[in-house]
Amino acid sequence: MKKSVFLGALTVAGLSAGVAAAGTLDDVKARDMLNCGVTTGVPGFAEPDANGVWQGFDVAVCRAVAAAVLGDSTKVQFVPTTGKTRFTALASGEIDMLARNTTWTFSRDVDLKFEFVGINYYDGQGFMVPSALGVSSAKDLDGATVCIQTGTTTELNLADFFRANNISYEPVPIETGAEAVQQYLAGACDVYTTDASALAAQRANFEAPADHVLLPEIVSKEPLGPLVRHGDHEWGDVVRWTLNALITAEELGVTSVNAEELAGGTDNPEVNRLLGTEGTLGEMLGLDAEWAKRAVMTGGNYGEIFSTNIGEETPIGLARGLNAQWTEGGLLYSPPFR
């Protein structure tokens, strides 16, 4: 009899390990805390402020999900990840979602088995050089020393770009963005390359931003977005539709200021469905009716999040560009709430 109990325990241990991959939504609710992977620090995107509170464009996505699921945008445990550690952290379950300017690529989606739930920033890879170098095009960089972060799409694009243009370079591999900036400023490399948004964000923190120029070439497509583990569709839906809610809210003119008022009922049925006064969308997600309202009221809709963290009024000063709503000539286009 003892033997069978033991074998039974073994099977349970084995099985439960397999099941742990699914059910993230329940795990998050049971834990009453969302574990969200972010960068180790990129100004405007994810960085702790003077009080140690994480702020930024990517952080806002984590907070919106926490508000939607747990009803409290502060119930987030932020886990800093580097380009190298982020995927292991997500795959191993250490984090529930990753919002860390991560590019949606075929192999990450299909081979690494992740699920990108959408795109919160349409970006491309750019180059930054000191203006003193007198370089005006990336094609003039033959023989230059380039700082890159390892484990990123950046290093692959870089190799492709130089190869395609038949020029050479000396790569200096670096773990984190902060180290890369330090090395670049110390002159250990002549060029710093990464997503153009991150270049702008990090340059804003330089002592003399004007001494550095971004070269005109954008050498890749970098659709950046939050991702979750493959296979847990319920959780994937929650994160996907929270992001869509932020985008739709901007499109429909729902802001952190007027959401409460609009939730009293409007004559636009989509606004009503979004804010939960009509239909049962929240219930279908396994959440309550006001999930999207809370998400929007946390940091505002997509446009508000953009302008408070990285927009033109901030030192980072990014224009909406491709990240404008489709109605404004941009690429942001959320599927309908219906």
Partner: protein
């Protein structure tokens, strides 16, 4: 008269497994073994289940795919279209290069510091104690980062070597027209081989063997016939003359390639990157401190009577060290030295902290990350390091056997 009687045959009872000291240890070992097997099968089972649940399988096919990334230090030709396997080999060679050089310099540092620590000069011996204590007691990773930061900041920015665009002279130029210390590394001349250049190298390598042969011959002559023949000058001649003759006979196929300033950095010559210098130096100076202690212990282990006896025979102190003390001390020094060499090889995996592309940086870093094949990469990584370590141990053991006390 005594009659040997067999002790009464006890029948084996199950309780004896616990109560009888003859069997008890077997029982416990069997239980421990069983527990271990169960533990590992749970782990293995868990891994297999989780991999299956995540839809992953163990496969090494990715090693044949193009790596897609570039590596700065390439001992063998490599580009971003080469395979992940080749990237791993480049990394492995980089590991071996830095480990080998660090073993050599750590031994030099260690022997010097170890001998000097026993010096009668108070200042020198205290300085050496300070060196040993400081380096031994602070983790090597911290030394690595300190040294890297210092080298990157002490050497002049490479921009000062560039030709200014207004046509004026650069702020700095090559030292002796052939070397430059910059924050992107040290640039030195490189030996280039012409078509037949390899033969000059072969001749030189053969000469090295020749020198050993000659010294063996001289020793035999001394032991068999009691004659001493000159060693130093003939050795030097054997070492140099054939290579020089070969060099001229083949029409001077060797050349040096001097670094020359290009648009951004020095082209030509050899670049010792800051990451490489920092790693090499940090490993050497850190491990040197441990080796110094081994050397000191080895020397102290030789009893004082030995050096007194040698002195009584009229040997000078240098010869006492070389002929009496060191050969005996080596027997004590070599075994711990092996483990220091292994430590260097393993610690070289900290390379990624300064961006040196060793095996951990390529296979265990970028390849692992870009392909997501974590388990496969780590297993392969373990295999590489295990092979390196076992090979080093084996070689050092051969050497150890050759110098150990031969009992006649």
């Amino acid at each position: 008269m005594t009659i040997a009687t067999d002790p009464p045959k006890e029948s084996f009872r199950l309780s004896m497994l616990i109560n009888d000291t003859r069997y008890r240890s077997y029982t416990f070992q069997a239980i421990a073994l069983l527990a271990l097997i169960v533990f590992f099968s749970i782990l293995g089972n868990n891994l297999a289940q989780n991999l299956a649940a995540a839809g992953l399988n163990i496969s090494y096919e990715f090693l044949g795919d193009p790596a897609g990334y570039d590596i700065n230090q390439q001992p063998i030709p490599y580009d971003s279209q080469s395979t992940h396997m080749r990237a791993s080999i480049v990394g492995a060679l980089n590991t071996l290069i830095v480990a080998f050089l660090a073993c050599v310099t750590a031994t030099i540092f260690g022997v010097i510091a170890g001998v000097l620590r026993l010096s009668n000069n108070w200042i020198i011996s205290k300085l050496m104690s300070i060196y040993v204590e400081i380096f031994r007691n602070i983790p090597v990773l911290i030394w690595l980062i300190i040294i890297f930061t210092i080298t990157a900041n002490v050497f002049a920015p490479i921009a000062e070597f560039r030709l200014p665009r207004d046509g004026s002279d650069p702020e700095r130029t090559l030292i002796f027209g052939m070397m430059a210390f910059t924050n992107q590394g040290v640039f030195i001349p490189k030996l280039t081989l012409g078509d037949s250049g390899a033969f000059v190298i072969y001749a030189f390598l053969a000469s090295i063997l020749g020198v050993f042969g000659y010294r063996g011959y001289a020793r035999k002559k001394l032991f068999d016939e009691g004659k001493t023949i000159p060693v130093l000058l003939p050795s030097l001649a054997i070492l140099i003359v054939p290579a020089v003759l070969m060099y001229f006979a083949l029409g001077r196929p060797l050349g040096v390639d001097l670094p020359e300033m290009g648009r951004f950095r020095f082209e030509g010559g050899l670049q010792l990157r800051t990451s490489f210098i920092a790693l090499w130096f940090a490993l050497s100076i850190y491990t040197g401190a441990f080796i110094a202690e081994n050397v000191r212990a080895g020397i102290l282990a030789v009893s004082k009577g030995q050096s007194e006896a040698a002195a009584a025979l009229g040997l000078r102190s240098g010869r006492i060290m070389n002929l009496v003390i060191l050969p005996q001390a080596l027997r004590v020094i070599i075994p711990p030295l092996i483990s220091q060499y292994l430590n260097i090889t393993k610690n070289s995996s900290l390379a990624i902290a300064v961006g040196y592309m060793d095996l951990t940086g390529t296979l265990g870093g970028i390849t692992l990350n870009q392909t997501g094949r974590a388990i496969e990469s780590v297993l392969l990584l373990m295999l590489f390091y295990l092979t390196f370590s076992l090979t080093i141990s084996a070689l050092m053991n051969v050497y150890n056997n050759s110098i150990k006390l031969k009992e006649r």
